[in-house]
């Protein structure tokens, strides 16, 4: 087993996951805000933020889809060692991780059912940059409006139209993290 596989997890999982979760929760509760998150040092190409999100939320109960470059031996063994999460395709995943282009098309993911809209995927989108500019966001969690660098508009508008069904997004870049729940209007 590679040394890289064994390392890069949370040194103190119970405490570091509390901090990482609060960052994710703040991001999901306040769409457009950029939170700092750290603790994990995952193998390339995963960002520290994406690795920390996965360690905080994933385990044997959460099938993960690795899209594109994220689907490599180093990431697979690292995730298996630190989370035990089963790998799957987009149709049955609870979490997906990859670049925006690798994650497409969004129609491949579960969006929940009318009785259980929570049974939907959360997509972790690795981004080349994350900044409070670009698309305008409004909706729950946002006082007036917020701005966030999104990879595009239309996909998120179509997703919003599915509410209360739909996908939820976490955007990661280095140690930064933002989120876009299905409830957010994007323009």
């Amino acid at each position: 087993m590679q040394a890289q596989t064994l390392s890069g997890g949370f040194a103190d999982p119970a405490i570091q996951s509390t901090h990482a979760f609060r960052s994710v929760m703040e991001a999901m509760a306040r769409p457009g805000t950029i939170q700092n998150i750290n603790g994990a040092e995952p193998p390339s190409p995963l960002s520290a933020a994406a690795g920390s999100v996965l360690l905080t939320l994933c385990d044997t109960e959460t099938p993960i889809y690795l899209a594109g470059a994220a689907d490599c031996e180093a990431v697979r063994t690292w995730l298996a060692f630190h989370t035990g999460a089963p790998l799957t395709g987009p149709a049955h995943c609870m979490f997906a991780i990859g670049s925006w282009s690798a994650l497409a098309p969004l129609s491949a993911y579960p969006i929940g059912t009318p009785e259980y809209p929570d049974r939907s995927a959360t997509l972790i989108v690795e981004c080349p940059e994350l900044s409070p500019s670009g698309a305008t966001l409004t909706g729950p969690g946002i006082k007036d409006s917020a701005a966030l660098s999104l990879p595009e508009l239309r996909a998120f508008q179509s997703n919003r139209a599915l509410f209360p069904l739909g996908l939820d997004f976490v955007f990661t870049c280095e140690n930064g993290l933002a989120a876009l729940p299905r409830s957010t209007e994007v323009s």
């Binding site: 959460t62 009785e115 929570d118 959360t122 729950p140």
Partner: protein, 283 residues
């Protein structure tokens, strides 16, 4: 060192609760099922709220627990002690100093701010339960936004009493979609639910449901054009601090059956008295 997990729950359980909280925030007002765990306290002592608090607390938090507005009831004290011991968090009774507040039956009078999280203990999360006992049916009603029965029930109140008699757990509509039970807070507190700066999380232990309101969410109390919602309270000032804007409890003060009205939020009342405000019954 302690021989239990941080905040009592094991890591896998906390991950499951954390995932439910995130879906709850993404779908405001929708009840997310979760696998509630046995806690070292009976149901009715807020095991749902305790599990949600356990999943969000960090060692740096300052934790406050209120029970019907008071910090010093047996229930509030035991939950506070539980997290002092299992999570090592500092606790407080001051609303303004707390980062996480667990509550039963009240929203603090002091407006909450962006850094704060309010965790509600919920006995019955399903607002339609008394109208339709079957979970499969209530889920369908929520998905179709079939809330006619709810309005009929409130309207029956009006025809019987001349006004809407429901005064606790008064149902609200969230972002124009889900009807939600705000837990048994007095309807006086309902207007604070909407547009709140803090994150609001709701945990029902026995019923195994978590739901949430992100900050600045639209929350509307159900009502009728001819009978608009009113956030009523006893028509008195507080006997101790003179507040005219706070929710009051009527308390018996002597053997002769003497009564007075005092703030239900003890921290609010004490802070006002410390600032020199006096009511007519103040010593």
């Amino acid at each position: 060192m302690t021989d239990y997990n941080f905040a009592y729950l094991d890591e896998q359980t906390k991950r499951m609760i954390r995932r439910a909280i995130l879906k709850g925030l993404a779908i405001p007002g929708y009840q997310v099922p979760f696998a509630s765990r046995e806690m070292p306290m009976p149901y009715g002592w807020g095991t749902g709220g305790v599990q949600v608090s356990a999943a969000v607390l960090t060692p740096e938090d300052r934790f406050k627990v209120i029970d019907q507005g008071a910090d010093d009831t047996t229930n509030a004290v035991s939950i506070r002690t539980f997290f002092e011991r299992t999570a090592g968090v500092k606790t407080t009774t001051k609303t303004t100093d707390a980062s996480v507040i667990q509550t039963r039956h009240r929203i603090p009078e002091e407006p909450l701010t962006e850094g704060q999280i309010l965790v509600y203990q919920v006995p019955i999360p399903e607002p339609l339960r008394f109208l339709e006992p079957r979970e499969s049916e209530t889920r369908k009603m929520h998905s179709l936004e079939e809330y006619g029965l709810m309005h009929v029930k409130l309207y029956e109140d009006i025809s019987r009493h001349g006004h809407i008699a429901t005064s606790y757990a008064y149902p609200v509509k969230v972002e124009g979609h889900y009807v939600m039970d705000p837990s048994p807070i007095p309807k006086f507190d309902n207007p604070k639910l909407g547009d709140m700066a803090a994150i609001q999380l709701f945990g029902a232990g026995r019923e195994q449901r978590i739901y949430a309101l992100p900050p600045y969410t639209e929350v509307v109390s159900l009502d009728f054009d001819d009978h608009p919602f009113e956030a009523s309270k006893a028509d008195h000032p507080c006997g101790l601090c003179g507040a005219e804007d706070s929710y009051l409890d009527e308390v018996i003060v002597d053997d002769a059956g003497g009564r007075m009205f005092v703030c239900s939020d003890t921290d609010y009342c004490e802070a006002r008295q410390a600032a020199g405000h006096r009511g007519k019954d103040a010593a």
